[in-house]
């Protein structure tokens, strides 16, 4: 593991947040498998160190933009299970009053500008958020999460160009999990992804996305520099998703082998690695860790139960929030 200077609580928090993400996803997957969740969803399991390593380097007032695979970012930026499960099930108490669902989930009050169902769709939004920061002098930094597949979208190059010309405080964080849907990254990305950012004069870094401390350390440095106006930056985080592209993608041997999956899970799991390191360093005992895990599991269970019972939005909500300042758009 990379070295880092944190106090004990920081480490515990990172561990906790990673486990919370994994636990959230396990429950979401269960909800899907038991046909209790409407629609499909994309699991973040395996990539926890990315969202947590990055978000733990941010202030609440800093902003992020998220993706279709957004539960991890949402948890990492400070969201609660209850409102998240309510959203996942389309209930009124969800963060988006059930109107967004998995692909638009976000705790907006913590600076999450939204998950996005358009691949690459939030690249402009993140850059614009950094624009606001510069224009109004708020000092906020924005992190734009996206996948390796999203690097194929032209929008990225357009906004990188402007971010670089204007020194915007934005960090483009590419979660390279080796696949976009059912296709390997090397089949859809020519040349080098870091070189693409560098060609715009943007400092680019590649980092082990399964090492939460490495991710966190690099992000801390870049965030501090971005706050001083030295941005933008690019980070490519090498990671892996454990589930299929979405929860329904069960038979996936035609595009990736079980052995490959097993290798990542057994040998590079971000939670197992970090847990081992914490115990080794005497930051927490096995017992303390197990207790934390159990508490998180219980929290999730309670939240799921709550959400399953929670009420749907009233049908009169259907034409609310179409326009700010218009109670019912179709009245």
């Amino acid at each position: 593991m990379a070295k880092s200077k944190h106090n004990t609580e920081d480490y515990l928090q990172m561990y906790r947040q990673m486990v919370r993400i994994r636990t959230f996803e396990d429950n979401a997957n269960q909800l899907y498998l038991s046909a209790k969740m409407p629609g499909l969803t994309h699991m973040y399991s395996g990539e926890e160190a990315v969202a947590v390593g990055i978000c733990e380097a941010l202030e609440i007032t800093d902003k992020i933009t998220s993706t279709h695979r957004g539960h991890g970012h949402c948890v990492a930026k400070g969201a609660e299970f209850k409102e998240m499960f309510c959203e996942l099930l389309g209930k009124e108490e969800g963060y988006c009053r059930g109107k967004g669902g998995s692909m638009h989930i976000a705790d907006q009050s913590n600076g999450n500008l939204g998950a996005n169902a358009i691949v690459g769709g939030s690249m402009g939004i993140a850059t614009g958020s950094a624009f606001t920061s510069k224009m109004l002098g708020t000092g906020d930094v924005t992190v734009c999460f996206f996948g390796d597949g999203a690097t194929a979208q032209g929008l990225w190059y357009e906004v990188m160009n402007m971010a670089a010309l204007w020194n915007l405080p934005v960090i483009y964080a590419c979660e390279n999990n080796g696949y976009s849907e059912y296709t390997k990254t090397e089949e859809i990305a020519a040349g080098s992804i870091t070189a693409r950012a560098e060609a715009f004069g943007i400092e680019a870094h590649q980092v082990d996305g399964q090492d939460v401390l490495a991710v966190n350390e690099l992000t801390q440095k870049l965030v501090a520099r971005a706050r001083k106006g030295e941005g933008p930056f690019f980070m490519e985080l090498m990671t892996y998703r454990y589930h299929g592209h979405h929860v329904g993608d069960i038979n996936r041997e035609y595009y990736r082998s079980k052995d490959e999956e097993k290798d990542w899970k057994d040998n590079r799991d971000p939670i197992i690695r970090f847990r081992g390191w914490m115990v080794e360093q005497g930051i927490a005992t096995e017992e303390e860790i197990e207790a934390m895990n159990a508490e998180i599991k219980a929290d999730a269970k309670a939240a799921v139960e709550y959400a399953l019972e929670a009420k749907y939005p009233d049908v009169s909500e259907v034409d609310m929030h179409v326009y700010v300042g218009v109670e019912h758009a179709l009245a």
């Binding site: 409407p38 629609g39 499909l40 389309g90 209930k91 988006c96 009053r97 059930g98 109107k99 967004g100 669902g101 998995s102 692909m103 638009h104 996005n116 169902a117 358009i118 691949v119 690459g120 769709g121 597949g149 999203a150 194929a152 979208q153 032209g154 976009s180 849907e181 059912y182 296709t183 089949e187 859809i188 990305a189 035609y254 595009y255 749907y312 939005p313 049908v315 909500e317 259907v318 034409d319 179409v322 758009a329 179709l330």
Partner: protein, 331 residues
Amino acid sequence: MRQITLSQAVNEALAEEMRRDETVFIIGEDVAEAGTPFKVLAGLVEEFGTSRVVDTPIAEPGFMGIAVGAAMTGTRPVVDLMFGDFIYLIMDQLCNQAAKTHYMSGGKLKVPLVLRTNLGATRRSAAQHSQSLHALVAHIPGLKVAMPSSAYEAKGLMKTAIRDDNPVVIFEDKLMYNDKAPVPEEEYLIPFGEANIKREGTDITLIGTSSMVQVCEKAAEILAGEGISAEVIDPRTIVPLDEATLLKSARKTSRVIVVDEGHQSYGVTGEIASRINEKAFYHLDAPVLRMGAMDVPVPFSPALEDITVPTPEGVAENARRLMSGEMIHAA
């Protein structure tokens, strides 16, 4: 006659045309081994190879542009756009380039391509994966727009589209991919601009597009039980539009409802209703009624989503009101 699914019907149409004409190829995301997320293209790459079933990066404007250039130089691309909602991303290539090339070149160049995409809500996919955006392209001269209402139409219209020398956009309903219908083994094509009278009737005309044809048929069934004889018409292509058949029916029944899954305002229903009003005005006993999707982004929550689209009960209810003369007072 054998029954096959809409998905199989599209697959057969593509396979037959690719066998017939070596210049036909498919291009889009995960079209090859994966056969698209909806599995519509399963088996095609095995028969035609990766040079004619071409997987692309996630770059819709890019591969749409490539298809336009390929079509201009002697091939017949079938572009696979995974969700109809992504059409916004390719509007420039579709509407500024493909649609206008023949005209701007004074008839010298042509762009024989097919854009295959989909429409339809109630899949719990939220606002960015549930839109029915066919009205946008129907507004642009130079494009043809087909809207199959069953496996039979899906096959016949696709084959016609591929042989057409113009850019054609086909919207398939995502929810109908597994619906079966009788489809002949023998080859057939369905000409563009010929509406299909799905059911004859004398009291009221129900015009539906895509899956709304089924909705109208079910409404007609309900109405039949009440002694109201409804004629159901499927225009099959909205550009070109078979005005003559629609007008004939309107003049006969003197009452018309137009049902479409796109947003109602500034959409397809307004055009069809206006043409009937303009040309059959003095035959009408009541105003032409329109039923589109609600003018709201599609909500995720099942409690809200289901009420945004026309239903058989809703159509039947409006038909009853029209028959009873109740609307008279409103107008």
